[in-house]
């Protein structure tokens, strides 16, 4: 699936007009984002169910510190120019896969032999695919590429996971909760931002 989702090479056939191709690319990426939004919500619910009480309780809202340089979509995100928002979306999607992998490794100790591990692995792949598709849309739109991170996302995620693991199982569960929540929020945000590019979508 990752191959299919990630290989969105809309310039393969030069005989086709680039505008409909871009439109199709945007539409396809938006559909992917919408699909991942649903999957991300399912992943989040499954995660909190497996961690035990109080993670599944509605009133449980532990503090949300930044995770390995990845913050939640800000309150002013919607006010930013669309290209900037898409660049932020692409950056977040690039940072999420190593974090999801780190969470999967932590959960391998806490919840081995559960479907959650497979879903975390799939989520990481899907985030990569969506990120790549979004980068392609940005390139087609002529937007400037996002700034390279000073630190590789994988290393930051590994450090965060190691710190959580050293702090104990409860912080590790909190880290996973935070990462799954970020994954859900950024995929949802990406779907909303791409929706503005889709013909007939919100302005």
């Amino acid at each position: 699936m990752s191959q299919r989702e990630g290989s969105l090479d809309f310039q393969a056939d030069s005989s086709i007009s680039p505008l409909p191709l871009l439109e199709a690319k945007i539409h396809q990426t938006h559909s992917l984002a919408r699909l991942l939004t649903k999957y991300a919500e399912q992943l989040f619910q499954e995660y909190v169910q497996l961690q035990g009480d109080p993670f599944g309780r509605p009133g449980f809202s532990p503090p949300r510190p930044p995770v390995a340089g990845l913050s939640a979509p800000g309150a002013g995100h919607a006010g930013l120019p669309l290209p900037e928002r898409l660049r932020l979306d692409a950056g977040a999607l690039a940072a999420l896969p190593p974090l999801l992998d780190a969470v999967r490794r932590l959960q391998a100790e806490l919840n081995p032999r559960t479907a959650l591990l497979r879903r975390l692995e799939e989520a990481a792949r899907r985030a990569r695919a969506l990120g790549a598709a979004l980068e392609a849309v940005l390139a087609a739109l002529g937007a400037e590429p996002r700034e390279p991170r000073p630190e590789p996302a994988a290393a930051a995620a590994a450090a965060a996971a190691a710190a959580a693991a050293a702090a104990g199982a409860f912080p590790a569960k909190l880290l996973g909760l935070r990462v799954c929540g970020l994954y859900r929020d950024w995929v949802s945000r990406t779907e909303a931002d791409l929706g503005q590019l889709v013909p007939g979508g919100p302005a």
Binding site: G52, D53, L110, A167, F170, P171
Partner: protein, 960 residues
């Protein structure tokens, strides 16, 4: 002496310290005491070394004290004995229940030698200095911290947790799995939370976290709870090849935490001393050598405890052979087959017991046990031809059975066909016609066990009885179950055979005689046999019969499978010669349907003749409808119920009788009726008629012009007819009063006329013959007098009179019976005295009315009222009292001139008519007022004397 004393004192002072030094080996305090905090294991590592030992090695004892928060708060004291060496570093580990991050701990130590070589007294050394163990300095900058980071405990144990808050004024709330747990403050920053008897929740751990109201941080930890280790159950070992033992067990509900899996199983063998760590928690294998006896111990172990189970056995007793293979069948014939198989080789001469099974149509038809140690085989015998079979085999140890192996693959085979073994079961229906005979033959298909293959055709051979050479053959292809033949005459012998691909069955022979006729023809033999009832059994009909006097080859019971009205679907059942009863069953039998049966005997000549006829139901039902009842002969006291047209034979059961239900206004039932309850719980009266042939019933003893309701229901063995609506009937008006009026009225009027006439006549006679005697007591003059002056003021009392003389005159001319008896009383004559104001000089009264026997009494005789007067004791016999009054002369001697003729007392006869008044006459005669019955008209002398004797005392009493 003084210098000596001073010397002694100085010596003692110098010796005592020396002796003290020699008897007490005072150890210098242990040096180099250090304490290290291990937060992962929540323990303190205590290290120290001892110097200046007197020997290179010395047995020593140490005492370690641990204080918490402050040095005076000693929470742990441990004595430790070991062999110490010069400058050796000694170590002890102490685990803290309270997380070390939450409190500062202090440690000190002292020691003494315990070496038996030392003769001195053993004294503890001085304590070392307190060494501080502090982990709080390692904490981060977070405002609220919870310790330890994580915890692994056994279910049911207590857990001590703590939290450190940077702000003493903040409010901290802690929860375990969402449930609030209180904390106990250890110091202004530290609180301790103790969880008692913690429970297992999930493998992913229980979450404990705290919240601080100041900054809403939520630090927490996961507590991994492990179930208490259970003893393994069902520990068992067996071998399949005598090379490897496979031991299995049920670990129970042993649940390890996912993060800290520490559960493991180890197998120990005591004879060999072998040990093996098991990779799986359910089974473990063990290599077998020449050892024959094994004593295994299975040890289950987790982080907190161990459990052991043991098993002692002989290897040969735990052989579970592998599944046989190369299973095959050979030499399969119509009745035999040979099964062969191979078993996995074990040791030499290890005998196996193999079980072979033969299945057919889903059930086991043969089962045999065969001993073998290599290749095995078994020969099945008695197989049915043309039958599909399945054979299978399994094996176990022959000498010491332990377990069967799995069944080897099933081998399916079929036996070939053979000739049918049994003659077809044939029956017939004969219908004679002019010059010929129509015979319908029926036969039942042979069963699989009889057919021995697929029946291809039937052969019917007929021959005339008297000309055997005139035989005819009729082949009829299967699967026909009958045929119809038109024979020349009705005297034939018929043979029927069935044939399959392998041969022909024995023949079924029957003889049809011309004079036997058709049993279904009512004008023939059938009519001579009386039909009897057969008993239903629910699913069939039971019947019995009397065997005929001659020999029989058997019996045949035939019937039609449908109701009487429907076309006959002929069925029969052949029975042996010894049968005298049977129960006929058929899937076509329906409850409430009457079936007719005919029982035939088969003679040695193979002719069938009718023995008995039966009729019956497989299951009787209650009547479906009630008879239509008509009311006849309705009168004021009875009516007749009639249901003559009720078809009892058409009912779904034999009618056993009828029940007449009657309801009326009266509470009591009529004679012959008893109270009963209807299905709707209403009460009525019932009368049972046990004779099913009786179809009329007279209801009598009814009330005229009354309302009655009746219902007639038939009943069979299964029950009563339906509870339908009652029929109303009202009895007519009563006819008797009219009859009586017609008879009595003509009689009453003449009687009334006669009565009036008699009354008038009697008045006339009375007036004529015996007019009323005046009664002075009833004189109207008396009412003018005062009653108090005298009860009888106007009447002269006899006692007040002084008779001058009493004269009795005997008059023979008017002698009555009383006069004969007491002649002296008959006539009283009261003689006038000077003072007396009496009337005449001589008075005589006579009252002829009071003497029946008196001459001239008149034709009418005494009236009833007068008769009553006679019965009164004071009426008749008081008259002599006047005679026998005391002081008076005897009546017969004194002349009587006057007697006061008062009316006799009527005590007890107030209602009697007044006594006839005495009639005053210038000379009256008086007679005793006595009514004498005709029988006493001539009393005996004794009676006469008796009458007189009775009268005397009474007279005396009265005279007073």
């Amino acid at each position: 002496m003084a210098p000596v004393a001073v010397f002694q004192a100085a010596f003692l002072l110098a010796w005592l310290p020396l002796s003290t030094y020699q008897s007490q080996a005072v150890l210098s305090e242990p040096l180099s005491l250090s304490v290290h905090v291990n937060l992962t294991e929540q323990s303190l590592k205590i290290e120290w070394s001892v110097h200046n030992l007197t020997h290179p090695e010395l047995q020593m004892a140490f005492q370690i004290e641990i204080s918490r928060i402050n040095k005076s708060n000693v929470i742990w004291v441990e004595n430790y004995t070991t062999t110490a060496q010069q400058n050796q570093t000694l170590r002890r580990m102490w685990k803290s229940e309270l997380p070390l991050e939450c409190a500062t701990h202090f440690v000190r130590i002292r020691g003494k030698d315990e070496d038996p070589r030392m003769l001195q007294r053993r004294v503890w050394s001085s304590w070392s200095s307190w060494v501080k163990a502090e982990a709080q300095s390692l904490l981060g900058p977070e405002p609220l911290l919870v310790f330890p980071k994580e915890k692994q405990v056994e279910e049911g144990s207590d857990v001590t947790l703590c939290y450190v808050s940077r702000h003493p004024q903040s409010h901290v709330v802690c929860k375990l799995n969402g449930i609030l747990v209180p904390g106990e403050q250890l110091d202004p920053h530290v609180s301790v939370v103790t969880l008692r008897s913690i429970s297992f929740v999930s493998k992913t751990g229980s979450n404990f976290f705290c919240e601080e109201d100041r900054n809403h941080t939520q630090p927490g930890l996961a507590i991994f709870v492990t179930k208490v280790l259970e003893e393994p159950k069902g520990f068992s070992c067996e071998t399949r090849d005598l090379k490897t033992l496979n031991c299995t067990w049920d670990p129970g509900s042993n649940i390890d935490s996912w993060k800290f899996p520490c559960q493991r199983y180890t197998l120990f063998e005591s004879f060999s001393g072998g040990k093996k760590s098991c990779k799986d928690k359910h089974w473990c294998s063990w290599q077998v050598d020449s050892q024959e006896t094994y004593n295994f111990t299975l040890q289950a172990e987790n982080c907190f405890r161990k459990r052991n189970v043991t098993l002692l056995f002989q290897l040969a007793h735990r052989v579970h052979p592998m599944t046989p293979f190369k299973v095959a069948l050979k030499s399969v014939s119509a009745t035999n087959a040979i099964l062969t198989w191979t078993v996995h080789p074990l040791r030499n001469n290890f005998t196996l017991l193999c079980q072979v099974e033969l299945h057919s149509e889903g059930r086991v038809v043969q089962q045999h046990n065969v001993s073998t140690w290599g290749n095995g085989q078994y020969s099945f015998r008695g197989l049915a031809p043309a039958t599909e079979y399945t054979a299978r085999v399994r094996c176990a140890a022959a000498q010491h059975f332990w377990k069967w192996s799995k069944w080897a693959n099933q081998e399916e085979f079929s036996t070939p066909q053979a000739a049918p073994s049994t003659a077809p079961d044939v029956w017939r229906s004969v219908r004679p016609t002019l010059g010929s005979c129509n015979v319908t033959l029926f036969w039942k298909p042979l069963s699989r066990a009889q057919a021995h293959g697929k029946i291809q055709f039937y052969t019917v051979a007929t021959e005339r009885l008297h000309t055997p050479s005139s035989s005819q053959l009729f082949p009829i292809p299967a699967p026909a179950n009958g045929t119809e033949l038109s024979l020349d005459g009705c005297s034939h012998r018929i043979r029927v055979t069935a044939s399959n691909g392998a041969g022909t069955s024995p023949a079924s022979v029957m003889v049809i005689a011309g004079d036997l006729g058709d049993p279904w023809n009512p004008g023939n033999q059938t009519a001579e046999v009386k039909e009897e009832r057969a008993q239903g059994t629910g699913d069939g009909v039971s019947m019995s019969w009397k065997p005929p006097p001659g020999d029989v080859l058997g019996y045949v019971v035939e019937w039609c499978d449908g109701p009487r009205e429907s076309p006959c679907d002929l069925r029969w059942e052949s029975l042996g010669p010894n049968a005298t009863s049977t129960v006929i069953k058929s899937d076509a039998f329906r409850p409430g349907v009457k079936y007719n049966f005919r029982i035939y005997g088969i003679s040695p000549e193979r002719m069938a003749y009718l023995l008995e006829r039966k009729t019956g139901y497989s299951q009787e039902l209650a009547p479906a409808d009630n008879p239509r009842v008509t009311v006849n002969n309705l009168t004021s006291h009875s009516f007749t119920l009639s249901w003559e047209d009720y078809a009892a034979d058409a009912q779904p059961g034999f009618i056993r009788g009828y029940r007449v239900h009657l309801r009326s206004q009266a509470e009591q039932c009529l004679p012959g009726f008893t109270k009963a309850l209807l299905p709707d719980n209403t009460a009525c009266c019932k009368h049972d008629i046990d004779n099913p042939e009786q179809k009329t019933f007279l209801v009598k003893n009814l009330q005229p012009e009354s309302f009655y309701e009746f219902l007639v229901t038939p009943h069979t063995r299964a029950g009563e007819g339906p509870a339908q609506a009652f029929t109303n009937v009202i009895t007519t008006r009563d006819q008797h009063p009219r009859v009586l009026i017609r008879i009595l009225l003509p009689m009453v009027f003449p009687l009334l006329f006669l009565t009036i006439l008699c009354y008038v006549k009697s008045q006339w006679i009375k007036e004529t013959c015996f007019p009323d005697i005046p009664d002075p007591y009833k004189s109207s003059v008396l009412s003018l007098l005062k009653p108090k002056e005298s009860p009888h003021p106007s009447i002269m009392s006899v006692r007040d009179c002084v008779p001058d003389a009493l004269e009795v005159v005997n008059k023979a001319a008017r002698r009555s019976l009383a006069e004969v008896e007491c002649p002296k009383h008959d006539y009283l004559h009261l003689l006038p005295t000077g003072s007396s104001a009496g009337p005449g000089p001589g008075i005589c009264f006579e009252n002829l009315t009071y003497n029946q026997a008196a001459p001239g009494a008149g034709p009418c005789g005494p009236s009833p009222g007068q008769g009553g007067l006679l019965a009164a004791p004071g009426g008749l016999l008081r008259s002599p009292s006047y005679v026998n009054s005391p002081g008076g002369p005897p009546a017969e001697e004194a002349p009587l001139n006057y007697v006061s003729q008062v009316a006799p007392p009527t005590s007890g006869h107030e209602d009697s008519p007044p006594t006839p008044l005495l009639e005053l006459a210038p000379r009256s005669e008086y007679r005793t007022q006595m009514a004498v019955p005709p029988g006493l008209a001539s009393p005996s002398p004794e009676e006469k004397s008796h009458l007189c004797a009775v009268s005397l005392p009474d007279a005396g009493g009265h005279g007073r």
